[in-house]
C-alpha cells in the first residue's frame, strides 16, 4: 500500500487537464494512471482537425491537441503510469495492475475519475442477422486505420450519423473504400452540419434519415445489409426494405460514460447522463472523489472537456489542502426539452459565478434556455437553434448564482422567446 495525495484515473484529455490544474493549484503529489501505452486517450486516433478553437484559438488535429497537454504535464514533472489498468476503488484506495509493478494499491486523499466513454456496441441495438466478420464500431475502425494502418473493408455502410460516423465516412473514402450510405434512425443528424458538408457532401455519400439497418447478411464476411424506413415511433416499416451490398458495417450509434469502477464503488449515477451526479466542485456522492470529461457526461468538443477537467483538478487540490465534506446542496432539475444539466447540484455555501452544461431532447428554434428558481426566471440565454447533437451552456453571474444558492427549487428549461 502506497500513499498518494491525488490519483487521476485516465490520461486522456480530461486526466491531463485535471492534473495540470491540480498542480497549478498547489498540489504536488499527483499520479495519473493510464490504461493505454501512451497518454492522450481517444485524441491519438482522432487525426482530423477542428480541435482547440476555444482553448488555443487555432484549429488543431487530435494528436496535436493531446501533445500540448502532455507537454504541460511533463513540464510540471507530474508522474504518469501508462499500461496501467485500474481494477477497483474502495475507501479511497485504488487497486491497479501493470506489467512492471504487478498489483498495486494506492491510498489517496482525493481521486479524479477521468476514464472517458465507450461506444455503444452492436448488442445494445439488437440488429438481427448473421455474426459474420465485418461489423465494427466506428471508433474501432478509426483505430485500425489511423494507428495500426489496417483497412477494415472496401465497401462500407455506416449506421449512425454522429460525428464519428461522419468523420469515418471521409476517412474510409480517403483510404480508397467506397462508402455506399450513411443510415440515420432519427429525422436529423446528431453530427455537426459542417461535418455533413465536409465528410459526406464533398464525396456524394448519401445520408438517409429515418432509416435503420434491419438485417446483416453474410457467412464468413458481411455480404450485404438490409435497410428500411422507420415510422414516427422508430419502428421499421414493412415493405420498405432495401438490400445494400457491402463487406463492412460501421456502427456509430452513441457513446456511454465508462462507469464500471464508479458503480462498484457505489457512486451515485444519473440515469440520463450515465455519469456521476456531481456538485459544482464536480465532487461525486463520495467525498473527495471527483469526475470530469466524458466519464461525467459525453461531450462534443474536447475544449469543453479540458475546461471542465481543469475545474475538477483545481477542486481536488483545494479539497486536499483544506479538507471539505459533502455539503448541503440545491438540486437543479431539467424539463421542457432540456434532458439534463451538469452539475446537478450546487452547494449552498459556495460563492462566485457558475456555469451549466446541458443537452436538449430535440431540435428547437428561437428559444431561450431559462434557469428558474422557485418559479422565477433568474437567468436566460437566447438561442436561434438548439439541437440534441450540440451541448448548450448557461453561465450565471455571481449575483444570479447567489439567488440560486438560496433557492428551495431550481430548474433549467426551454421557453419560447
Amino acid at each position: 500500500m502506497m500513499d498518494k495525495n491525488l490519483i487521476i484515473v485516465g490520461g486522456g484529455p480530461a486526466g491531463l487537464a485535471a492534473a495540470k490544474a491540480a498542480y497549478d493549484a498547489g498540489e504536488r503529489d499527483i499520479l495519473i494512471l493510464e490504461r493505454e501505452d501512451r497518454a492522450g486517450g481517444i485524441l491519438n486516433q482522432c487525426i482530423h482537425n477542428g480541435f482547440g478553437l476555444h482553448t488555443f484559438k487555432e484549429e488543431l488535429t487530435g494528436p496535436e491537441y493531446a501533445a500540448r497537454y502532455e507537454r504541460e504535464v511533463a513540464a510540471r514533472g507530474i508522474e504518469i503510469k501508462t499500461g496501467t489498468t485500474v481494477l477497483s476503488i474502495a475507501d479511497k484506495t485504488v487497486a491497479c495492475v501493470n506489467a512492471e509493478d504487478g498489483l498495486t494499491h494506492y491510498r489517496a486523499k482525493a481521486i479524479v475519475l477521468a476514464c472517458g466513454c465507450r461506444e455503444r456496441p452492436r448488442g445494445a441495438i439488437n440488429i438481427a442477422g448473421c455474426r459474420a466478420a465485418g461489423v465494427f464500431s466506428a471508433g474501432t475502425a478509426q483505430k485500425l486505420i489511423n494507428i495500426d494502418g489496417l483497412m477494415p473493408g472496401k465497401e462500407v455502410v455506416i449506421l449512425g450519423s454522429g460525428d464519428i460516423g461522419l468523420i469515418m465516412a471521409r476517412r474510409m473514402t480517403f483510404q480508397g473504400a467506397k462508402v455506399k450510405a450513411v443510415i440515420e434512425l432519427m429525422p436529423y443528424s446528431s453530427g455537426l452540419n459542417r461535418n455533413i458538408v465536409q465528410c459526406l457532401q464533398d464525396f456524394d455519400i448519401p445520408l438517409r434519415f429515418s432509416h435503420t439497418v434491419v438485417a446483416i447478411n453474410g457467412k464468413k464476411r458481411v455480404s450485404s445489409v438490409v435497410v428500411a424506413a422507420v415510422d414516427e415511433k422508430l419502428r421499421p416499416i414493412a415493405g420498405t426494405e432495401e438490400e445494400i451490398a457491402c463487406d463492412t458495417l460501421l456502427l456509430s450509434v452513441g457513446l456511454l460514460p465508462e462507469n464500471e469502477i464508479a458503480k462498484t464503488y457505489g457512486i451515485e449515477l444519473s440515469p440520463v447522463t450515465g455519469g456521476a451526479i456531481v456538485d459544482d466542485a464536480l465532487m461525486t456522492s463520495k467525498e473527495g472523489v471527483f469526475a470530469c470529461g466524458n466519464v461525467l457526461h459525453v461531450h462534443d468538443l474536447v475544449d469543453f472537456v479540458s475546461e471542465e477537467s481543469e475545474r475538477a483538478g483545481a477542486s481536488a487540490a483545494a479539497y486536499i489542502a483544506r479538507g471539505g465534506e459533502l455539503s448541503d446542496c440545491v438540486a437543479i432539475g431539467a424539463k421542457d426539452g432540456v434532458r439534463y444539466a451538469v452539475p446537478q447540484l450546487v452547494r449552498r455555501g459556495g460563492e462566485g459565478a457558475l456555469g451549466f452544461k446541458m443537452r436538449v431532447g430535440k431540435v428547437a428554434k428561437d428559444v431561450k434556455i431559462v434557469l428558474e428558481c422557485d418559479g422565477r426566471e433568474v437567468a436566460s440565454r437566447r438561442r436561434q437553434i438548439v439541437t440534441p447533437g450540440e451541448m448548450e451552456t448557461l453561465t450565471l453571474t455571481a449575483a444570479q448564482a447567489q439567488i440560486l444558492r438560496g433557492a428551495k427549487e431550481a430548474v433549467i428549461r426551454l421557453a419560447e422567446v
Binding site: 487525426i47 482530423h48 488535429t61 501533445a67 486505420i145 480517403f174
Partner: protein, 119 residues
C-alpha cells in the same frame, strides 16, 4: 446562384452565393467569415487534408499528417496519392515535413504526431 451550408463553425448557416455577380454577393451568413467562405467556396473550394503515413520501426504503425494549409478541393485525392506507399523511418517528430511543397503550392504534408522508435 449557389446554395450551400457554411462550414466555418457549428452554426452551419445556409448561404446563398450569387457567383454570377461581381463582386460575388453572399446572403444568409451571420458573420464576416461566412461571407468570405461563401465567395471562396463558389469559385475555388479549398480543404485542409488530414491522413496518415506508414512508419518503419516505430512504436506504432502510422503517423498522422495534415496539410500545412488548405489545398484545392479538386486536388485532394491526388495529394493523398502522394502518401500512398510512402514509408518514413522512426522517429517521426510532430511538425516534420513528410511531403514538401505539394504540387508547387507551397503547402506541405507535416506530421501531427510524434512516433518514437520501437523499443
Amino acid at each position: 446562384m449557389k446554395e450551400m451550408i457554411c462550414i466555418c463553425c457549428p452554426m452551419g448557416c445556409r448561404l446563398k452565393v450569387y457567383d454570377d455577380q461581381d463582386p460575388i454577393r453572399v446572403e444568409g451568413n451571420t458573420c464576416a467569415r461566412g461571407a468570405k467562405y461563401g465567395a471562396e467556396e463558389a469559385v475555388s473550394p479549398k480543404r485542409v487534408v488530414t491522413a496518415t503515413v506508414r512508419v518503419r520501426g516505430g512504436e506504432i504503425a502510422m503517423a498522422s499528417v495534415k496539410t500545412s494549409g488548405a489545398i484545392a478541393k479538386s486536388s485532394v485525392f491526388d495529394a493523398l496519392a502522394l502518401l500512398k506507399g510512402k514509408v518514413v523511418d522512426a522517429p517521426v517528430r510532430e511538425g516534420d515535413v513528410i511531403v514538401g511543397n505539394i504540387f508547387g503550392t507551397g503547402v506541405d504534408f507535416v506530421a501531427t504526431k510524434t512516433v518514437e522508435k520501437a523499443q
